[in-house]
Symmetry: C2
Subunit: 329 residues, 2 copies
């Protein structure tokens, strides 16, 4: 594209992004494209997520964590497909607040996560916008040919499971906004979870043969379970009392007057980036063993049945799910 950022576009690419480029396939970002060989016996897995300042991240968030969140929400999608991440293309829509130090911080966040997840920058674009900053990444990975599980295989009788904790993403957003009244240490832990979610790549790779549907929790457990129910043509019921809660979430939960409302809030909050999956009862022991092996919590939160849609209960009583997805309030 045309040079729109005379003061910084080429400098940004040459000094900050070129060192992050894939050593073999991106020519130090001196070209507009990346050309790379494919992997025999593997499928190419592709995903692209965008994040906007003031919507998906806060104006005050440090740009290194914004870069990491951008990569991680995309890596989380690859995790659900059991893919091994390879590299990414990046579009930076810099706002006026993104000066050189902010761009340096952004690149430092990319560098840290490239090392953490074994990926490289393959190309992209940087442009200026007078509006809020936004970023998108296209993440590429490789999965064993024909081995990735979709959202469409859940069947009546299958269990519904989640990794990790549910609700820390939403609580983390509240913490980052200064809206939570908890101990400083808990605030910090929640905000960290919101800013730098952990994609469960190894677990996703290990369980593709055991699950019947799998995706990551980004819109909220209830909304995302709705996607699985819809794609599979089944109904899903969640027992809210089973939701796995972190120590910080439990501290917050204990301060609420209505436990049902609190649990629905956690189940619809979104931004958790845990894996949500269904499996036949006979595969539960193997799933649990794999989770134990990886020191990852795996919790059964409900059951698939014949029908349509998602329902929730608390201690055996039906609960009205008023908030079907995260609306960034």
């Amino acid at each position: 594209m045309a040079a729109v950022d005379a003061a910084g576009e080429f400098e940004t690419i040459r000094k900050l992004f070129a060192p992050l480029a894939h050593p073999d396939h991106a020519w130090g970002l001196t070209d507009d494209v990346a050309v790379m060989p494919t992997r025999p016996g593997a499928d190419l897995v592709l995903t692209k997520d965008a994040i906007v300042e003031g919507v998906h991240f806060l104006p005050g968030d440090p740009l290194d964590t914004v870069a990491q969140k951008l990569l991680r929400v995309n890596l989380s999608d690859l995790a659900a497909k059991g893919a091994e991440p390879f590299g990414y293309l990046l579009a930076c829509h810099w706002s006026p607040r993104c000066g050189w130090p902010e761009r340096e911080a952004f690149a430092a966040g990319l560098a840290a996560d490239q090392k953490e997840f074994g990926i490289h920058l393959l190309g992209g674009d940087t442009v200026l916008t007078p509006g809020p900053a936004s970023f998108s990444a296209t993440m590429l990975g490789w999965a064993p040919k024909g081995g990735s599980v979709t959202r469409g295989g859940a069947k009546p009788g299958h269990g519904i499971y989640v990794t990790g904790m549910i609700g820390d993403g939403w609580l983390g957003l509240q913490a980052a906004k200064g809206h939570l009244h908890l101990e400083q240490e808990r605030i910090a832990a929640l905000a960290e979870h919101y800013r730098r979610p952990v994609p469960h790549l190894a677990f996703g790779q290990a369980v593709q043969g055991l699950v019947t549907a799998i995706m990551d929790v980004s819109d909220g457990l209830i909304a995302d379970l709705g996607h699985i129910a819809s794609a599979s043509g089944v109904a899903a019921s969640v027992q809210l009392e089973l939701l796995p809660r972190s120590a910080a979430a439990t501290a917050w939960f204990d301060s609420r007057t209505d436990p049902e409302v609190a649990l629905v809030t956690l189940a619809t909050g979104g931004d958790d980036y845990e894996l949500l999956l269904t499996a036949a009862p006979s595969d539960e022991p193997a799933l649990k063993r794999e989770a134990d092996r990886q020191l990852l919590r795996l919790t059964r939160v409900g059951t698939i049945s014949a029908g349509r849609g998602v329902t929730a209960s608390y201690l055996g009583k039906p609960v009205d799910i008023r908030k079907p997805g995260w609306t960034h309030d």
Copy 2:
């Protein structure tokens, strides 16, 4: 990602984008990822460009042409690598002005160019931004293994060539802004060129074995030639009187008082999306034959020599190139 566009995100995806999805690899956009087999004997070619309202397209531009421009600037990058386009991922950062009719128009533009270029939508994301709209696409294509030419092979004595016309991109922007005083028909032709550039895919595929460096002209002929000179470690000189000009550009040129300034303006304007290439003198006849066969104009505009940087001349006299790239003025 989280649902940020309660009124329209899922509707937009389901009603407007799902019909555009690749029939085999994108699951009707019900998943966050695309999983696709690779092509034996082919390299994967990837590029990602972003465009911003008010910077790369005009606030008044119809959104169907904005969608087409987005695809075409990316296809133009693939053309330079001789790649056959396959599909793309899309991020729409909708602004408040992007209501349902605008989104319908955008999708109609995508549909038209999917048919034109044989590509499909593979995935992506749609988000809302309070700022101006912006869009990015990651375009994928296949090229014969090891067959793509970089920018780095130009050698002293090689000729410098461009397809089509130079300057119509910049003139088209002026036309679209209403800044040009020409006949209505010429205004319309130039604006069309600006809004819907034509990627030279077949020519790019045909000439990879004949060229020593190749790229598309997006920043402007002079600036892009600078990229080739830099990557190849050579100097490039352009004879401005040789620049191929359309009838509309000639009409504009004839109205200028200073021909040198006018030619530098055309050579630095950008947004042409013509192919810029270098070739050994012995390959010029074959290049010309291929261009003739494709009814495409191919013009030699200069020569590569030992040294560094880009110089220009007009009728034998050196010309100062004051404007090294398009600054969107």
